[in-house]
């Protein structure tokens, strides 16, 4: 195994196609180099660890983080807010996730996501209409003009951010997202200042909104989180804040990349784009295959071991940092036949794209719905779309991986 394979994976030059490196990595299912993390790249081992109660998501259990090159690039590292449930273990994780789920999913709120379907469709239609009215058919950037604004708008509606404030929300989200995707030419101090500023403003804004919703609840997620009185009681303002920030961050860049990766994959496989155009219901299995084939979250870098554990014959000592390479597990030939082929008709596509176990994606039903609506509408309305750059330019981030721009040309845009 080459010494610097992790470095290679993180290196920007492999962003467009990291999959050959993952294949190389899978020859050593548990890879460990010097004082770096233990890197797990095969499906069954990753899945096993995601269900293993000796694994923690709480970074306070790490004895050594020094060798973790991703640590600086991590989201949400604000010291002001308590850790969100993404970074907590049970019982705190379970309690906060339950309380957040109460206004979001079954059994208490089985219809919240489904009820957003019409509204989501409206946002999609509006965005494509704007492209039709203002865009240049010879060069449309699907990231800028579609995938990017869509999920932020959705989170705003879910949380209950008033429409007149949505524009401000987009600016903060953009700044925070940019901090995940450092521009190598920009001044790091300047960037850090901007990020911290955006974080503060967003925090203050949300805190104000939470206070308001506490007084006059309006039925949206934020009102319910602030006033909900389930068996677990009510969240503190700080808890509501860090949960709202989690929903925004976890549901933004990921969904952007799923939609963008989806269009990229479909443009590379035009027969599937055509199928989707004639059969919009195919969007559902297609999104599943996309989550396997080009997962927006490539790896989970924040797990640690609470005990010495044995994985595939290797003993990983207590307190070690683990990286679970979801995108590699998704291409493991021991689990998926012909894994490098995009095949929406796969019968058994239990991918790792949304994680597994207790931290498996909280927003999964929403993410699936967003992606299915977006892809089927784009397929239906874009006339003869063509990729202008292949591969397109990617963002820096190796964890939340996806194109920075997706330039396409179209013959026209069909009416809604």
């Amino acid at each position: 195994m080459t010494q610097g394979i992790l470095r290679q994976i993180l290196d920007y030059s492999s962003r467009a196609n990291p999959y050959p490196l993952y294949q190389e990595l899978r020859a050593t299912p548990v890879f460990h180099d010097g004082d770096g993390p233990y890197v797990i790249s095969t499906y069954h081992e990753i899945k096993g660890l995601l269900h293993d109660p000796r694994i923690s998501s709480d970074s306070r259990n790490l004895t050594a983080t020094a060798g973790d090159p991703l640590n600086q690039a991590e989201e949400g590292g604000s010291d002001v807010l308590p850790p969100s449930f993404l970074k907590l273990d049970p019982p705190d994780h379970d309690r906060l996730r339950r309380m957040t789920n109460r206004p979001f999913g079954p059994p208490h709120s089985p219809r919240r996501v489904e009820q957003m379907r019409g509204e989501l469709g409206g946002i999609v239609t509006g965005l494509i209409d704007t492209i039709a009215a203002k865009g240049d058919p010879a060069r449309i950037d699907l990231v800028e003009e579609f995938s990017y604004p869509f999920p932020v708008t959705v989170i705003c509606r879910l949380l209950g951010v008033p429409p007149e404030d949505e524009a401000r929300f987009h600016v903060w989200a953009d700044t925070l997202a940019a901090s995940l995707d450092p521009d190598p030419d920009a001044d790091p101090a300047e960037r850090a200042k901007k990020t911290e500023g955006a974080r503060m403003e967003l925090g203050m804004y949300l805190a104000g909104l939470i206070e308001e919703r506490r007084k006059n609840p309006t039925g949206d997620m934020l009102s319910e989180l602030a006033t909900g009185q389930g068996p677990d009681g009510t969240m503190s303002t700080m808890e509501v804040l860090s949960t709202a920030a989690l929903l925004l961050i976890a549901g933004h860049e990921t969904t952007v990349n799923l939609i963008t990766n989806g269009m990229l994959t479909l443009l590379r496989n035009p027969e599937h784009l055509e199928r989707l155009r004639s059969e919009p219901n195919l969007a559902v299995p297609m999104v599943e295959e996309l989550l396997r084939f080009e997962p927006p979250v490539q790896l989970l870098p924040q797990r640690s071991t609470l005990a010495d554990i044995e994985v595939a014959g290797v003993t990983i000592p207590k307190g070690s940092s683990l990286w679970l390479i979801l995108a590699s597990g998704n291409r493991d030939p021991k689990r998926f036949e012909d894994p490098d082929r995009f095949d929406p008709d796969r019968p058994d596509v239990q991918h790792l794209g949304l994680g597994s176990g207790i931290h498996s994606c909280f927003g999964a039903p929403l993410a699936r719905l967003e992606a299915a609506l977006a892809l089927s509408e784009l397929a239906r309305r874009l006339e003869n779309p063509r990729l202008l750059e292949d591969p397109p330019p990617y963002r820096q981030n190796a964890v939340l991986r996806g194109p920075r721009h997706l330039p396409v040309a179209v013959d026209g845009i069909r009416a809604a």
Binding site: D52, P53, I55, P90, I309, S360
Partner: protein, 464 residues
């Protein structure tokens, strides 16, 4: 003719008969067709319905959220079968390879799959059992009738037996706002399946949800009024309880009477088969053309010392049916064993309970995660220094891990720390199972020794 040729002929034009047209029967039939069986397939079932699912009968159906006749099992593929529904199989002639039907018809087979499952154990006194308002719950018809009775708003429901089904019924009654008493002979609900430590949690759940739970007590008689409706039950403590609806939930009896005298190794504990699902005859010799799957089967399991296990588990019925179907259409070299790790689920009082392995073999239990008081925990069962089973209350996402621990015969008590370990989980406790010779209500896993023969018990044909 070599055996390969015979197998090819069987696949092309053979006759396969499935007795018992429910979960195991259907899934086996689908698997046979998937494996290319093109011959004649006959599905014999005594119920007049095409295969339907039972777990919802004690859950959604009793809550009125689904109707009893809306529980048809989804079909995985067309099985192109001759359906003989509504008439039971009444006998088996092994020498002539024929199933005799209750209407006198005979059906010949080249391969036979027996999947006749179990039925609800009836109230032992037939006159009392026949009173209006006395129910059991096994079939679609049972569920529809019970649901109607609950919808009528009875003053009190009495559930006799606090196994999984009885507890689910009590839970549904409380969710409908009905007054309900549960009478259980053992000291707590679910003790047969999960032991006393977990049973105590279950008892608390009953009481917190307003169930009048009475343990260590037996119902000695049911009393009807002049119109033949049940009105009260007499209890072993000398008290009388008024109830308009009584649900008898005393576990199950294997549907094997129709095989009496056939020479097959069938009895009250089920039909013994080998790990490849082939039935044993009464001499302990394995048959070549008769297979068994589902609740009616008793089969040896490598992970549990090759003891014969009978499992009343949905997942087992599916897995065993698929293995049986595979083996029925395979050469001896291609056959595979049924190595399914037992797994079961139940939902009651808003809590999702799941188990893997064989908790009832456990002598000790350790609460490795969570807390019993919060009704969210993982309990791990140990037997002779190894992990033998696990149960979760609202913590099912960890179950895969513990299933692996069972498969790997990992040491007990688990020597490692886990997330969410509480003081109560620092050391093992006695699992506190009742004496296995005292029957409890529906353990859902029955261990029955190493002998394929069922001689220790005398065979008693059904009373009716």
């Amino acid at each position: 003719m070599n055996s390969d040729g015979a197998l090819e002929r069987l696949k092309r034009e053979g006759r396969i008969v499935v007795v018992g047209a429910s979960l195991a029967g259907l899934r086996a039939a689908e698997k046979m067709r998937e494996k290319g069986f093109a011959g004649e397939l006959t599905m014999i079932g005594d119920e007049p319905h095409e295969p339907y699912d039972r777990p919802p009968l004690s859950k959604q159906v009793l809550l009125g959220m689904a109707t009893a006749d809306g529980t048809a099992l989804p079909r995985r593929r067309d099985i192109d079968a001759k359906w003989r529904l509504g008439v039971p199989a009444a006998g088996l002639d092994m020498a002539a390879s024929r199933v005799r039907m209750a209407d006198g018809d005979e059906v010949e087979y080249d391969r036979l799959l027996i999947a006749t499952g179990v039925r609800a154990r009836p109230w032992p006194n037939p006159e009392e059992a026949a009173l209006d308002g006395v129910f059991v719950l096994r079939t679609r018809g049972d569920a529809a009738a019970l649901e109607r009775a609950l919808a009528a708003g009875p003053g009190r429901v009495l559930v006799i037996g606090a196994g999984f089904t009885g507890s689910e019924i009590a839970s549904a009654c409380r969710e409908r706002g009905l007054a309900v008493t549960v009478a259980e002979r053992a000291d707590a609900p679910l003790v047969g399946a999960l032991g006393g430590v977990v049973g105590a949690v279950a008892a608390d759940m009953h009481r917190e949800n307003g169930v009048d739970l009475r343990t260590g007590i037996m119902v000695t008689a049911l009393e009807g009024d002049s119109s033949g409706r049940v009105r009260a039950a007499h209890l072993s403590d000398g008290t009388t309880l008024e109830a308009e609806v009584v649900v008898v939930s005393l576990g199950a009896q294997r549907n094997t009477e129709w095989l009496a005298g056939s020479g097959l190794g069938a009895g009250p504990r089920g039909i013994a088969c080998d790990a490849g699902c082939r039935a044993f005859d009464i001499m302990g010799i394995v048959t070549d053309d008769i297979y068994v799957a589902g609740d009616v089967a008793r089969s040896p399991h490598a992970l549990f010392g090759y003891q014969f296990l009978s499992l009343e588990h949905w997942g087992n019925a599916v897995a065993q049916a698929e293995t049986a179907a595979h083996n029925m259409l395979s050469t001896s070299a291609e056959r595979r064993p049924h190595l399914w790790v037992p797994a079961f689920w139940s939902s009651q009082f808003g809590v999702n309970i799941k188990s893997v392995g064989v908790p009832s073999m456990g002598t000790e239990i350790m609460i490795t995660q969570g807390s019993r008081a919060e009704r969210r925990f993982v309990g791990v069962y140990g037997y002779q220094g190894r992990v033998i089973g696990a149960v979760t209350f609202d913590q099912c996402r960890w179950l895969d891990f513990y299933e692996q621990q069972i498969e790997q015969t990992a040491p007990f008590p688990p020597p490692y720390p886990t997330v969410d370990r509480r003081p109560e989980g620092e050391r093992p406790l006695p699992a506190d199972f009742p004496d296995p010779s005292v029957p409890t209500h529906g353990p859902t896993i029955t261990l029955s020794g190493h002998s394929p023969a069922d001689r220790r018990m005398t065979f008693t044909p059904a009373h009716n």
